[in-house]
Symmetry: C2
Subunit: 311 residues, 2 copies
């Protein structure tokens, strides 16, 4: 018996914006949420030439679990950027990682999954001599720079601008434009001067997948099992991937916003696209087909069941 | 901009099974999950004539937060039933209530939201001299008694039987049959010998709404603001209500299983049915239209937007 059903949309796009494949409505408008972090981090890196090592770059791109390794990397990048921890304006949160929260449940801005992104943004403001207090405002030069990069990478003339969960601007655009950003993260001349910084962000994510999310997280697990792929989720059921090898970007949106469905849906799309092989799928079965438990035993499973139409 | 969308179904039924009103597909098959707890508790009460006070009866009907008041009531009912706490076979869990979990995060069976139901079932087995170890098995006389009560109250010839999250049998049936159970919880001669026990369960829920769920929970809040209504949620986006005054039952299923949508949807349905007035809605606005936060500020809201068709 099918107890619950998630509907969703998938867009697979190349760097020129051509739709390669899709499911559902690839033009559905979405807020790009934390899927934008690699691009936001690229902008921060372009403004703060400070020699951040890959672990710190990866945590700038992260929605991290606030495990000790993540918090340590954020503190280290803040020190490198010359930014006090008190400047972080992301919401005070408990660590997402349950084992970490069990021993350190404090609600702190550094425990926000977004603290690396905010640390990168603050480091950029500090390096540029811009005000730190207002870095989240849409009119701040940093956020203006992010907006310019978003328009460039997405290949759109305009985006809707809202407020993300952590208080910085979030950008609304068609799902295929989000996929195009990922195709361009995979490598594109269209990014002009941002290109080396995008490459640095992407290389760091590939080199340090654990820093991008952490324990028991789809983004980390898929990057670990398929070296080279770039994977990043966002709130409200968004999951994205870039294949530098194939030069394509993939964006999945679960219409109801459920994170439990977006992971299996992205993995299924990657498998259909030939970007995950059988043995790779087998080693991440708990993420590809998460079990449903009853009394501690497996009594069902969550299955991604859709095909891609080819353009 | 609409970021995410939950689809769902609503059935409003009288005790004879007549469809009064609906939205979507009132015949969609669902697993009744914890919405069945008032009926399961009624069966337990019919088998264990032990003078449980209303707080203990209400916690038998509960998906509780494991706040101290809930755990205390479960321990008290276990003592009254002559059942050791170690006999509980519900999964070891952290308390749902965050403030409680912050000080007592232990995973214990008594902290399961279902521990009151299990305590009632065990008390019934003890009173009847039935084995305690196997009380979750579908073939156990207790579960056979529950199945008989479910068929009687739902007015169906058969149900699917699966395994609920806590390990006891769960029953699959059309949504309108779940609504009919609630119409009959509201008061019906069709329940034969079970009727006084159903009345006791329902009266306890109305008298002790905090015991049914707890802090920051829709079930509790709606019962507090609308005395007389019986409200109970279940996993995977199920929310049900009974109006003894009107003799109707209401069942809402969110198709994707999201609990964030089922509360506002039930509240909206109750308002459309005239069971919640404007001032009552105003006092539970945070549950009727939950805010969406960005940087700690309200930047959007979750809105139930559907109409009921009248039969």
């Amino acid at each position: 018996m099918e107890e619950s059903l998630h509907a969703g949309d998938v867009a697979v796009v190349d760097a020129d914006g051509r739709l390669v494949a899709s499911a559902g409505d690839p033009d559905i408008e979405v807020l790009a949420r934390s899927a934008m972090k690699p691009l936001q981090a690229s902008v921060s890196l372009s403004l703060a030439p400070l020699g951040f090592p890959p672990a710190e770059v990866a945590v700038m791109c992260a929605s991290h679990n606030a495990e000790p390794v993540h918090v340590q990397a954020v503190r280290s990048l803040l020190a490198r950027g010359g930014v006090p921890e008190a400047a972080l304006r992301c919401p005070a949160m408990r660590p997402w990682d349950e084992a970490t929260a069990a021993v350190a449940p404090e609600r702190l801005p550094i425990n926000s999954d977004c603290s690396g992104k905010h640390g990168g943004m603050l480091s950029a403001c500090r390096a540029q001599g811009w005000p730190l207090e207002t870095y989240r405002d849409p009119g701040h030069p940093l956020q203006q720079g992010v907006l310019k990069a978003v328009l460039l990478a997405a290949g759109v003339a305009s985006v809707r601008v809202g407020v993300d969960g952590c208080g910085v601007p979030v950008h609304g655009m068609p799902l295929r434009a989000v996929a195009r950003i990922y195709a361009r993260l995979a490598g594109s001349d269209a990014l002009d001067g941002l290109r080396p910084h995008v490459r640095r962000a992407v290389d760091a994510m590939v080199a340090e997948p654990y820093m991008v999310a952490g324990r028991n997280r789809v983004d980390t697990v898929v990057m670990q099992v398929a070296p080279g792929l770039v994977v990043k989720g966002g709130a409200e059921g968004l999951m994205c991937a870039a294949s530098p090898e194939r030069g394509i970007g993939v964006a999945v949106k679960v219409r109801d916003g459920s994170p439990r469905a977006s992971g299996p849906a992205l993995i299924h799309a990657l498998a259909v696209l030939g970007l995950l092989a059988e043995d790779q799928l087998g080693s991440i079965a708990a993420f590809a087909r998460p079990p449903v438990l009853g009394g501690g035993e497996t009594v069902g499973e969550l299955v991604a069941d859709f095909s891609l139409g080819w353009s």
